[in-house]
Every structure is written in C-alpha cells, then in structure tokens.
Symmetry: C2
Subunit: 555 residues, 2 copies
C-alpha cells in the first residue's frame, strides 16, 4: 500500500501531471456520458470519478489503471436499477449507489479470501463477444438521444447536431493525430491531443448552444448541474437489498474482469507484476468509496487507462491529480455545463463504444478454434437477444461448460517398454512392446472430481480391450494431487478389480501424493503393490507370472 | 433403446418378477411419504411411480435403476412450489407437475446436446454434504407430523403412534434380517424381507386405525385416496413459467446427479457400462411422463435401486412389473388407505432419510484432504442455514471455485540436461544441468483460458530469476491442445519477449497442436524457432551463442 509514494522520484512528476491533466479533460464528458448510460443525472458520473481513483491509488496494484465510470458497467447498472425505480428519481440514485456498495463489498470479500484466480474464468472469446454485444446495445440505446427522437421521427435540429458531432468525432479520431503531426507536433503529443477531441467537440457544441440561436430550437440539454463536491451518502433502500444482491455480485465479477484485462495489457507493456488479489481490494474499496460519495459502480477502463499510460502516468499520483482537477471543476462555476447538448454527449458515447467493437478475436478464433468462435457468437447473441445480464450468465455457463468439459477429458496412455530399455512410452506414439498379462496405464492429469469418471470409464474400456490382463499398473508419474473423490474412485476400482481377481498396482507415485494416501486406508487394502518405477513393477509382475507358471514343476 | 427386451432370456424372468414385486411393496408407502414431503396429496406419489419407470425402461441405460419419487427431490419441489401456491390446492399440484416438465425438458435437452459430462460437476464431498444437510432438513420437517403437533405441545396419541412406528422401524432395520435368518430364511431373502418392514408397519398401523378405537382419537390420517389410474394432465400455469424455470433447471441437475451416483454404484457391481447421455434422456423422458400423468419430479434412488438390484432385477422389466402392480393397486379398492395414519408415514420418512446421513465421506476427507472436508461442511451448513436451493447453489459455487482453482495451477518445470544424455528433466527433482543463457520450461497441462494467466505469471517469474537468459524454450511435450486464449497469450509473450530482445522457441510441439497453430500467424511472427526436440533446441542455441561469441575473432 502506497509503496509507490514512498519510492516516488522527482523525475516521475512531469509524466504524472500531464497524464492527470489529460485524463481529467477526457473524464468530464466521459463521466457524464456514462452516467447517462446508467440512467443517472450526469453529475453522478463526475462524483464517481473523484473518490474511486483516490481510493484505488491507496489500495490498487496497477500503476497506470484509471478507475471510474465505464460504459459496460454503466449499461449493467441501468439494466438492474431501471426496472426498480423511475428514471431521475432519488430512489434511482440511491439504488445505483447501493449496487456499487454491494459490488464493492463482494470484491473486498473476494480479495480477503484471495479469490483473484477467478480472473481466469472467462475465456478471451467469451469476454470479447460479451464486450461486442454490450457495446452494440449501448450504441443502439443512444440512437434516440442522438437524433432527439425515434429514428422514424427525429427532432431535426437535434439530429443535425448529433450527427455533426458524430461526424466530427469520427473524423478527428481518424485524422486528427495525422493532422497535428503534420503541424509539427510530436507523434506522442499529437496522439494524446487527438484523444481530447471529445472534450473539444463538447466545448464547441456547448458554446454553440449557449451563444447562438441554435440553443433555442428545443434540443435537450443537460440542465443545471449542482455545484459543489459530492457529499457522504449513506442512504440505502432496505426493500431492495435482496433484489440487488445477485446483480451486484454479477456486476462485481464483470468489474473485476474488465479491470484485470485492462491492467494486464498495461502491466505487460512495462513488465510490471500485477497482483490480482490486490486488484480485488483496490476495486472493492473504489466501489465502496463510489457508493459513499453518491456515485455508482466503477471499474478500470481499458481505453482511459491506455490514455493515462500514453500521456505519461508513472504512478497512481496521476489519478490523484485527475481526481483533484475534477473536484476543482465541480467547485468552479458549473453553470455553463447546463448548455451541454445531449445529442453531442450521445455522439461521444457512440464513438467510444464503437472502438470496443473488436471482431479480431472472432476472426482469429474462427480460423483457429471453431468452438471458441461459437462461444464468442453465443455470448454476443445472448447479450443482444436477452439483455446484458443474461449475456453474462450465458458467458458464465459457456465458460463453466468448457472448463468442466476440458477437465473431464484427461489424457490417458497405454504404456509399453521401449525395446532393451527401462523406458516406458505411449504405445500409440512409440514402437513400445506390451505384455498381454499386464496393462500399464499412465494418467496425465491430477485425479480429481472433474475427471475421475472419465478415468474410471477409460480404465474399464482398456480392461475390456485387454481381456488377458491379470494386473493393472497405474503409472502416476504425472499425478501431483488426488482429491477425496479421486481417492474413493481408486478404492472402488480396487474393490471392483479384487472381485474379478485382478491386481491393482501403483507405480511412480510422487512423494506428496504418497504422503497423503498414507492418511487413508487405500494402501492397506490395495490388492496389489506399490512400485517405485514402472520398470520395477513390470519386472516383478513378469517374474511372478513366470514363477506361477513354473510352480507345478518346481513343486 | 429396448435392447434388453430384444435380448431377453427366460432365465432372467424370475429375478425380474421378484424384484418388481418387492419394489412395488416398498414403493406404496415410500411414494405416498415423499409426496407428503413435497407438500402434495399422497396419491400423487403413486402416480409418479407408474409412468416414469415405464418410460425409463424404454429410454434409460441402467438395467437396475428404479425411477420414482425421492426424498431430496421432493424436498426441493416443496421448497419451490410452497411459496407459490396454497398446500393442497389444485394450483400446487399443477405447479409440481410443471416443475417436473421443466426439469424433464432440460434433461432431454442436455441429453440431446450430449452434456452428460456435467455429471462430473459435484465433488463427492460436496454431494455427500448436500445429501446430509437435505436429509436432516427432511427429518426435522417431519417432526411435527410424527408428533401430531409442535414438539412442545404434541398430540399424545399421534406422538405415541409415531414414536412407536419409529421404534419398530429402527428395530426392524437393525435386527429383522438377523431374526429372519435365524428363522431359517436365506440371507438374501431375509435382507429383502427386512426392506419391506415399512410396508409391514404401515399395514399394521392402518389396521390399528381402521379396526380399533385408537382410530378415533384425532390422529391425522391420509383420508380418501381417489381410485383409478392417473389421467393425462396438460394443465400448466402460464403465470409461473418464468418463476419455475431456474428452480426447474436446478432440480433437473440434482435429479441427474442423484440418479447417476446410484446407477454408477450399481453398474460398478455388475461391470455394466453406463452411458451418461442415455441416462439424461431416460431421466428427462421419465420426468416429462411424470408431469403428463399428474406426478412431480422423480429420479433414480440409491436405496430403492439397491433393493431392486438385491431382489434380483436383471432388466428394466422389473420396473415395468412394479409399475403394473402399482397401477393395479390404484384400480383395486383404495378405501382402506384412507386409514393410514400420518405419524407412521412420517416415521418411515425419518427412518429412510436417517439412512442417508453418511458421515463416512466427511471423516475420510477430514483425514485425507482438509479442504474437501471444509467443502462438505460448507455445503451441509448451506442447506441447513439457507435452505435446500441455496445449498445447491453453495455446492455449485464451491465446485466451480475448486475447478477453476485447480485448473489455474498447472505444473510448470524448469528443465535441465541429465549429464551426458539427451534427456531433460525437472531441475528440482533431478540433478540436471542448466545453462544461464537459456531457460527451458515445460508446461504440464493444456494451455487454455483457465491457466494462461498462471503460466504467463510463472514464465515472468522464472525470467526474473534467470536474468541472464537470452532465449526461452517452451517444451510443449505435455500440451495436447491450445485454445484461442492460449494462442493470444503466446502471441503476447512473443511480442513482450521481442521487445526485450529475448527469443521465444517452441520444442516438442505435438502434431495436432502444430496443425492448429498453422491456422494462426504465431509461427510466422515467432521471434525464435520451432524444434523437434529439447536436445536439438539446446544444441542449436548453444552453437549459436558460441558463434556469436566467436564472431569478432572469425571476422
């Protein structure tokens, strides 16, 4: 905690200041826009951009993560709170904050329980399909605001402004950096200036509304923004705790996944080590802080963090500066903000989410692994057809399904001896010799509840195929753990083989596995033996068979 | 389908008939009792014991499975329908059937999609803890019926009858078989006769009620049971489809898990092969049949199937005979059933579920793997504290958590060369020699979304530890699949190493993995090479390093 502050070097300051400034300029329109996506008053988006990054700077592990409102999380917030309260009502704002509190507490609990490994839960195609579907939903949701009415009956002055803003943003996005570079700015400065285009468009549109007759044509504007800093907010709605619990957990999960993928991409660029459990704590604390300061669920955003990174952020001090500047903006006269036209804000949202419409993952997985492409499509279709919450559930179901399916298919090899050696290899890949009286099987996975069934079935199949086998040797060289379910499966196999007069032997059992097996009665009851190596097992069984065959003679 | 009928041998008939008879005698009190557990009229339990086993005989894969009402599934049914409809109302019965329909259709869909591997989902400790908790809940729920009132204010005649029935059942359970054997019966016959004790106690208690003054002391009895076979029932409640959907899926899942564990235990005893997808279809069809004939969710029960097995069932014909006998019982005069006292029925339930209170798995896992014991306790506590549905969710969460956690911890070894050989082994386990300029890592798991994060982190850790390494060789001998997420991780690793001037090489890539990688651009972009074996990679890199070092001289 605050390690970065204790090790702060003066050389880092310039980068942090410039990044703080740039991100603050980016965050004013973005925060307000994402509050609108969540169905909240725009100022709530600014509130949610002050306390959360400050608190994240205290607890988070990423140096360049920028925590605040984010499009997909806002969409989910709106989808949860929308059916429970009237838009614009006090209850709506209370429930959004309550959702942030639940998500935040859940994230803190997961951090305390060290559940950071849950970040490994979504496959990249599922996450990409989810993002695609959610971005498309957000863009479509903004169409009415952009046009000032339904697309069949737009409010023409609004539509003109909205589409002009959209065109300006797209053009800026595509050519501003090149233009600025041609004007003699360095590539880095030009790129960053181009990222501030939304602020520029918002300022021009606001001036247009405030200073010209265009502002009196009935275009919807933000309206009065209350000045002053966010206040401590402890209001909650007792009636909705249980309703919000499950969506709050889902949103907490998505907050973590989105933030981790952003932070990982950045950590990779600087070879920094990211601690997923610290990230849980940082995000959890940030969301609790957001809830207590009248905000709504927040997360680290890939696009904003990338700007923070590119603008030179070296430490979380950049986020502290951003937060301070936003607080200043709220203390300064906010009257001019009232003239900010909603169609322009909608245009900034549309352009922001269009940047998330990545089909590269779909294209790659279509060529590389068709089942991953199907998962991508199913998740995106789930979000579009059933809504963003059902989309997450679809993604979770697909991920769990894939995980169980993959875990339930361990590699199992029948072993044979390489001629004249002590080496035993998979008979399907090597010219290895087997003996009919014994079956050697190597299981290439830890034995646990997810695969014991498959292992048992395969063993039975192989025993049917090797009907002459009198002994089964399980080679456990690749097994570094056997759980209780695996233990029971081995005990049942032992019993079943015993009834059929077959011996069960274990070879190459690893030290830790053996230590644990000694805490059970499997080894005592084993109707076979424990061998240090496959070669010893093979030689022993061979010799014993010869002795038995020879027995009548030597008798 | 019906393969058993085409191959039917006359010798199998005697066993099937006796098993059919025994199970029918067992099923009359059990079916009625489990209907009561679900909050349904007792006759519904008989209905649910006729069509489902018939249909299962057509579609199921187990030869000795006995499908019908089961305590835990009934408990879950009651927990779902209870809050939605008044006990004893027509709506209650409709909703229970509708739940069976949803579960049945879900099971059929899973069977069609070949999702049988989902049976590998619950670990044995989680399943055992869940069963323990559910059995305890059922027993406690029956206390009031057993005593004819709350335990502080029992209805004494009811309590006397209930406790006497309980004592009789426990005594019979413990000593009946021994007694009968001493009377000259064979062990098998004695055991089976002992299993019919509940029927005997029920008959005696019913006679006591009907023929003596004891029946007029205000003891609750079953009351008039409508005679006649179940009729086709297509009634559903439109308003409750969405409410029942999620619980229906959960119950379907539990039906499958319970039935599979019963069927597996039996298949193991006879070395029969169980096809989990066929089991899904059989159970799904049985539940749809139950719904259409006015029943409620059914499953294969461990205790009943074991009796079926022990009584000699050779084929599903035994179940057909059971169903026919139960249908006959309903056509015969059912007036006498009205006198069946509820305290006695409650006693049969308590005794049945006490048999499910297995702590052996807890004891074993406590000694063998403490984390499994914790999962047992958490699941049982979840059922007891939060209810049976929340208990399933707890179990699912624990299972998923464990699965992701285990999948996210692959074994990764730093390899070194065994002196004077071509063999490379884990340096922590063998005296193998490494070279500072190259790092050889072997990943002992398929690369997929569940573990790429852990693999990447471990690689970075090892690179930090081996700061002099100029080349990283990934030995993929144990990797038989790389999914899209794994592909991206390798591409990112390649990019990141490239930026640092390090080479990424792949060795011992399996054929199918290589074929798939050719569908991506990873191999083209690789800033290193592909080697057939680790030894070749090592020799090549060694020679190249020597050439570079030698370069200034040879220049």
């Amino acid at each position: 905690m605050l390690q970065w502050l204790r090790q702060y070097r003066r050389a880092q300051l310039a980068g942090d200041v410039s990044a703080g400034l740039v991100v603050a300029m980016m965050m004013i329109p973005q925060g307000m826009a994402y509050a609108l996506v969540a169905g909240l008053p725009p100022v709530v988006g600014i509130y949610a951009s002050i306390a959360p990054p400050l608190v994240y700077a205290l607890f988070g592990s990423s140096m360049t993560q920028s925590v605040g409102p984010m499009a997909i999380v806002s969409l989910m917030t709106g989808a949860v709170v929308g059916p429970l309260a009237a838009a614009g009502s006090g209850l709506y704002t209370v429930l959004a904050a309550q959702l942030a509190l639940i998500s935040g507490l859940a994230l803190l609990a997961c951090g305390a329980l060290r559940l950071g490994f849950l970040a490994n839960f979504f496959s990249r195609p599922v996450m990409s399909g989810f993002t695609f579907g959610a971005a498309l939903v957000i863009a479509l949701d903004q169409a009415d605001t952009l046009l000032g009415g339904a697309w069949r009956a737009p409010h023409w002055p609004s539509a003109a402004l909205g589409l002009a803003s959209l065109a300006a943003l797209v053009l800026e996005r595509q050519s501003m950096a090149a233009l600025l570079r041609r004007c003699g700015l360095s590539a880095l400065v030009a790129d960053i200036a181009a990222k501030l285009a939304p602020m520029l468009v918002v300022v021009i549109a606001t001036l247009l509304m405030a200073q010209t007759r265009y502002g009196r044509l009935g275009i919807h504007m933000i309206g009065a923004v209350p000045a002053g800093l966010p206040r401590l907010n402890l209001a909650t709605s007792a009636a909705h705790w249980t309703t919000l619990l499950q969506p709050g957990l889902l949103i907490g999960f998505i907050i973590f996944l989105i933030s981790m993928s952003a932070a990982q991409a950045l950590a990779l660029k600087r070879n920094e080590k990211l601690v997923s459990n610290a990230e849980l704590i940082g995000l959890g604390a940030a969301n609790v802080a957001s809830a207590l300061s009248g905000g709504f669920p927040v997360t680290g955003s890939m696009s904003r963090s990338a700007v923070n990174f590119a603008a030179g952020a070296n430490t979380p001090l950049a986020s502290v500066i951003t937060a301070a500047l936003l607080a200043l903006a709220l203390v300064a006269p906010t009257g001019w903000l009232a003239w900010l036209p909603l169609p322009t804000l909608a245009a900034t949202i549309v352009v922001a989410v269009l940047g998330m419409l990545d089909v590269d993952t779909l294209r790659t997985s279509w060529r590389y692994d068709r089942s991953d492409a199907v998962a991508w499509l199913a998740t995106a279709a789930g979000v579009l057809a059933l809504g963003v919450q059902a989309g997450v559930v679809t993604g979770v179901a697909l991920s769990i399904g894939t995980l169980v399916w993959r875990a339930s298919r361990p590699n199992i090899a029948v072993l044979g001896r390489l001629a004249g050696s002590e080496h035993f290899r998979d008979v399907e890949r090597y010219p290895a010799a087997t003996e009919p009286a014994m079956l050697l099987l190597r299981v290439d996975a830890n034995l646990f509840f997810g695969n014991v069934e498959a292992v048992s079935e395969r063993i039975e199949d192989e025993l049917r195929r090797h009907a002459e086998a009198r002994d089964l040797v399980l080679v456990l060289s690749a097994v570094s753990a056997i759980d209780t379910t695996g233990l029971y499966a081995l005990a049942e196999l032992n019993q079943s083989l015993g009834r059929r007069g077959l011996g069960l032997h274990l070879a190459e059992v690893k030290g830790p596995v053996l230590d644990r097996l000694k805490h059970s009665d499997l080894l005592e009851r084993l109707n076979g033996q424990l061998f240090l190596s496959t070669a010893i097992a093979c030689d022993y069984l061979h010799a014993r068979a010869a002795a038995v065959t020879a027995a009548p003679i030597s008798f």
